[in-house]
Structures are given as structure tokens and as C-alpha cells.
Symmetry: C2
Subunit: 348 residues, 2 copies
């Protein structure tokens, strides 16, 4: 049993200019690695020369898609397993330097319809992963994928990390428990852990095949298919966005920085856009689609949080992160990707 990582974590700020080189030849586990963010992160890690193992359950509807890693499939180890299974997780964490822990049920609507499955995946399996590390690889570092949904309806804007956590759906509650387990294991058991609370993230490899994983996914597919984008309410709710390469850059930065252990950071975007403006950008980029405003479906209205945008100042100060790809560029790259690969994202 290999329990001591020799990963050369950077022990004091700032990150050196060549910090990305630290990933070369290192063993990295990406849970949920066939999903949207996990696959983009794995692509970057392979470019950096890391030895990547992906664990993914490929549960239908959850975002895992083997096509996401088509370009690197011969250079990574793909292990199909459910993070709820403590036996496979106990084996998989061994020998890893860093775990990017992205496996999760991410649909807010699904969490309200089936709260127990969300609990199993977003609470219980996180404990399984952390217990596996405690017992089998206590020198590892884990970076957890949190979400702005944990804050619930903002009490002030921009939301910083001092904002109360008052989730408006079961998914937000369980993601919060999962995050807090990580911070607890960092503080009590010495398992290095950092959480990044992501905002609306978009880009190539986002799940498009159903409409329960966020409005950008729905808007993109509708525009590409020349349909009508239906906006709930007034379309005036504000959001910030991150292009996926910016999000994965944040994960890679905190992964090597010792002073981020035990901390929680917001991601966030510089452009604050209304939902209607985001739809219009997507329509313009795709050169297709049209817009209509419709009343909120009851099921969605009840967990809606109004306007949200976050402050990423704490993360910027910690590791020098800021988003580099603006919405025009990001949506162009996204539309270009789906033009070429659409068949792998709309069929079952």
C-alpha cells in the first residue's frame, strides 16, 4: 500500500511562474472524469504530462460521456466505478498524488424529485472517498467541486465566502455537507483538501442531452438546433459565467498550493450578464435560434435564487487566478466544438 506522496507542493505564496510543470509524471485521480469539467481537466492534465486515472460511473443522465476523452483515451486509465462503492474507491485512491473530486449528481431539479439518490452520491460517497484516503493514502490532496448553489438566494452581491450558506434545494444542502466533510478531514485528520465553489460553467463537453443540468446547456442545444429558447420569468436575473478552461485552471492552481488547504474559494466571472443577454449571445454566436419569455414552471420557480454573481477576490489573492476567456470567445469555441461533435451529445 503506497501511502506517502512525494508531490512537491508549493509551501508558500505566490505560485512560481512554472507551477504547471509540477504535474509532470504525477499520479492524478479525477472522479467524475468522463463528465464535463472532469474531462476538460483530464485533457489539460495529459497535456501537462500527468498520469491520469479517471473514475466515472457512467450513470445515464449524469454527464459522463466517453466521447469527452476521445482524444486522450489511449493515454489515460479509465476505471468505470461508482464513487458510492467503498471497495473500488479504497483501491483507486492508493498511490495518487492529487484527487480532483468532481463526481456528483448536479441537477437541482433531480435532487428535489429524488432526494435520496442525491444524498447517496453527494453526501455518502464523499465520506467514502475521504475515509478511503484516511485509511489508504493520507498524504493525498483533494480538490472538491463545490457550487454557488450552496449559498441559496443571495443576501448581497457579489457573494463572497463570508455569505451564509442557505441552500434552496436538496442538491445544495448535500453539496454543502460534502464540502464540509472535506474541510473537516483537512482540519481533523490532516487530509489536504480545498473546495472551489463554481459558478455557471460552460464550454465544450457540457451535457446537452437533457434539460436538467442548467440553463446554458439548454440554450446551447436549442440554438444549435435552430429552436426557440424559452426564458423563465423576465430574463433579467443576473449571472456570472466561467468558460471551462478558466475553471480547470483554478483547480490546477489550488491543487499545488499548500496554503489553500482547508480553504473554500469562489470562482466567478468579470462579465455580469442577464439570462436574456446570455441567450442573445448564444443565438448570435450560433447564428440560429430565437428567444421567448415564458412564465416560470412551478417546479423551477420554487428553487430559483434570483440574481447571483460572486466575488473571486479571495482566490485571486491566494493563487493569482482570474478568468481569461470572455463570453464572446467562450461561446464561439463552444459552438465550434458542438458543430463538429453534436452527434455525440444529443443521442443516447
Amino acid at each position: 500500500m503506497e501511502s506517502s506522496s512525494t508531490f512537491p507542493f508549493v509551501t508558500s505564496p505566490p505560485l512560481p511562474a512554472d507551477w504547471e510543470q509540477l504535474y509532470q509524471n504525477r499520479s492524478i485521480l479525477v472522479t467524475g472524469g468522463l463528465g464535463f469539467i472532469g474531462s476538460n481537466l483530464s485533457l489539460r492534465l495529459v497535456e501537462l504530462g500527468a498520469r491520469v486515472t479517471i473514475v466515472d460511473s457512467l450513470i445515464p443522465d449524469y454527464g459522463g460521456n466517453p466521447w469527452n476523452v476521445e482524444k486522450i483515451k489511449d493515454r489515460i486509465n479509465i476505471n468505470i466505478a461508482d464513487v458510492r462503492d467503498p471497495h473500488s474507491i479504497a483501491r483507486l485512491v492508493q498511490g495518487q498524488d492529487i484527487i480532483f473530486n468532481l463526481a456528483g449528481q448536479v441537477s437541482h431539479i433531480d435532487s428535489m424529485r429524488d432526494p435520496f439518490t442525491d444524498l447517496e452520491i453527494n453526501c455518502r460517497s464523499q465520506l467514502s472517498i475521504l475515509e478511503a484516503c484516511r485509511n489508504n493514502n493520507s498524504n493525498v490532496k483533494i480538490i472538491y467541486a463545490g457550487t454557488r448553489q450552496q449559498y441559496g438566494k443571495p443576501q448581497y452581491l457579489p457573494v463572497d465566502e463570508k455569505h451564509l450558506v442557505l441552500p434552496t434545494d436538496v442538491n445544495g444542502i448535500n453539496k454543502t455537507a460534502g464540502e464540509t466533510y472535506h474541510i473537516l478531514y483537512n482540519n481533523v485528520h490532516g487530509i489536504r483538501a480545498t473546495s472551489l465553489r463554481m459558478t455557471n460553467t460552460y464550454g465544450p463537453r457540457l451535457l446537452l442531452k437533457h434539460n436538467r443540468q442548467g440553463f446554458i446547456s439548454v440554450f446551447l442545444r436549442t440554438a444549435i438546433e435552430k429552436g426557440e429558447i424559452k426564458i423563465f420569468g423576465t430574463g433579467e436575473q443576473l449571472r456570472d459565467l466561467n468558460y471551462v478552461d478558466d475553471a480547470t485552471d483554478a483547480f490546477l492552481r489550488v491543487g499545488v498550493a499548500e496554503w489553500t488547504n482547508g480553504e473554500v474559494y469562489n470562482l466567478g466571472g468579470d462579465e455580469i450578464l442577464s439570462v436574456a443577454a446570455i441567450a442573445q449571445k448564444i443565438i448570435k454566436t450560433a447564428g440560429a435560434g430565437r428567444l421567448s419569455i415564458v412564465p416560470f414552471p412551478e417546479e423551477t420557480r420554487r428553487i430559483d435564487i434570483g440574481s447571483y454573481y460572486g466575488s473571486y477576490q479571495k482566490l485571486r489573492e491566494a493563487v493569482g487566478w482570474r478568468p481569461l476567456i470572455d463570453a464572446d470567445e467562450g461561446f464561439q469555441r463552444t459552438v465550434d466544438y458542438y458543430r463538429e461533435n453534436i452527434s455525440h451529445y444529443v443521442e443516447d
Copy 2:
């Protein structure tokens, strides 16, 4: 299936002088009703003329003790069942006007040793209870037993409800998820719910038979048995206390008050005492026992929160609650109770 409560909830503040009479002939379910607080609450409810059903799993070591309700056993319905069992819970919630939801795993140390059991009881079973109400009795009101442990290590004192929730143990994380489910079901599904975050509560019927349910329990038993009370650290950490009758009074008050729905309230005490001072009071009251200061055991030190006391101003303003029994009186009543009943609390 009986789904509509006719309970005459008070719709606007303040509570009328005779609010306790509202419980007469009403159907009340107390989960964890054979435990410390649940049994004291049930005793009061029987005095008020309520029809009380207790559900308790009697899991060894968890605080349930049939002797706690010896005096009222012929006037209540005792149903042995585990709140993790969705089938019995679905049946038991039917026809109830109010549910006092006190079932839980309460040991912080046990939650660190066996986080999965704590998760099952404090997260999963809470979802079971709420789903049972949503499907079978959506007019019920639920009062949830939260804990000051949810706040973790205080960032300021006294701690009010605006303080960040940053638990330092698995129990605190799971109790927080359980609480937030209640608030969510109130806001989204219209199941009336209020949470009371209790502080150190003591009094007759506190579990004494093992040392993992709080320091007051340990101090009481040690003094009664003429032993040496070991205080960890310096004994200077501050705490506030509630005598159990004051705590149950808070539950009864919010139970009838419509304007508390969806809200979270701290309980708290007027006397802020050091742990050493509490030990000395207990020794003086018992007329037995002695004090020693010892280093923190590692397992306890890692989840210790330092000094804590809370503000109960919000609850006072909402329902006129304040604690009435001071520590001298409370410990006297407690010691008197155990002098008469000790055999039922120290044997298995």
C-alpha cells in the same frame, strides 16, 4: 389517510397567555421520545392533555430509556421503530398535528468514529420523515432539534443566528443538513418547520451510562458516584446551559406559532460559566466528587470548539421565551432525580 390538521396555530404574535391550552386533545408525535429531551417534553405534553405518540428505536447507547416515561407509560402510545425505516415513519406521521423531531445520533465522538451511521440517522432519516409528511400529512408542523455544534468554533460571542455554520465534526455537518432539509421543505413544499439550535441541556433523564454524550452527563455521574471529575485543558472554556424544562418550553412555544415557520432560533442561557465552575456547582450540589485538570485527549481536542455561548434574543422576541431555572436550582433538581432513580441510568 388523514391529511388535514385542524390545529389552531396562532397566526400572529404575541402568543396569548393561555397558549399551552392549545395542546389539549391534540395529536403529537415525538421522535426520540424515550430519550432525554423527548421524554421530558412528552411528560409536559401529557400534563397539557395532549395525545402523545413516541417513536424511538431504543438503539443501545443512544439515550432512549423506557424508565424516562415510567410515570406516563399508560397514558401514551409507545412505538418502537427506527426513523431510518420509511415504512413505519410513513404510517406514524399520519393524523399528527405536530411532530417534535428529536431522534438523532448526538455523540460527536461517535460521529467521527463511525461517520456513516451518523449520516444515516441524522441526514437520511430526516429526509424520510419529511418525505413521509409531504406524502401523507402535509399540514403538520415539525420542530427540529438543532444544536449549537452546527456553528463550530465561534468567530464571535455571543453567537447569534447570523454566525457562519462551520461544524468541526461529522455530527455537526449532518445535523446541519438535517436542519436545512426542514427549512427547505417549509419553503418549497409548505411543510411547516422550525429549528431550535440547543445549547448544553441538562436535567433529569439525561443519559449517564456512557461518557460520550456531553461533559455534564459525565460530571453528574462522577459526582454522584463520589469520583474524580477530570476537566480537559484548563477548564476555562465558557458555556451556557439550559435546564431541560426551559428547553422543552421553547419547543412547545414555537410549536404553536405560525410566524416561526421556516425560521432557525438559538436557545441559550443567562449564566455564562466556565467548565470548571460547572463542575464545582455539580460537586457542591451533590455534596460529593472532586476536581482535577488533565490534558485534552487527542480525539477530543481535535473537535473542541473553545468557548461558546449563544444569544437567544431572536427566540425571545418571537415567542417570549427565556430560561427560568438557574444552574443552582437546575442541578439541585437533577441531583435529586438521580438520587432516587440512579439504578435506571447506570445499568444496561
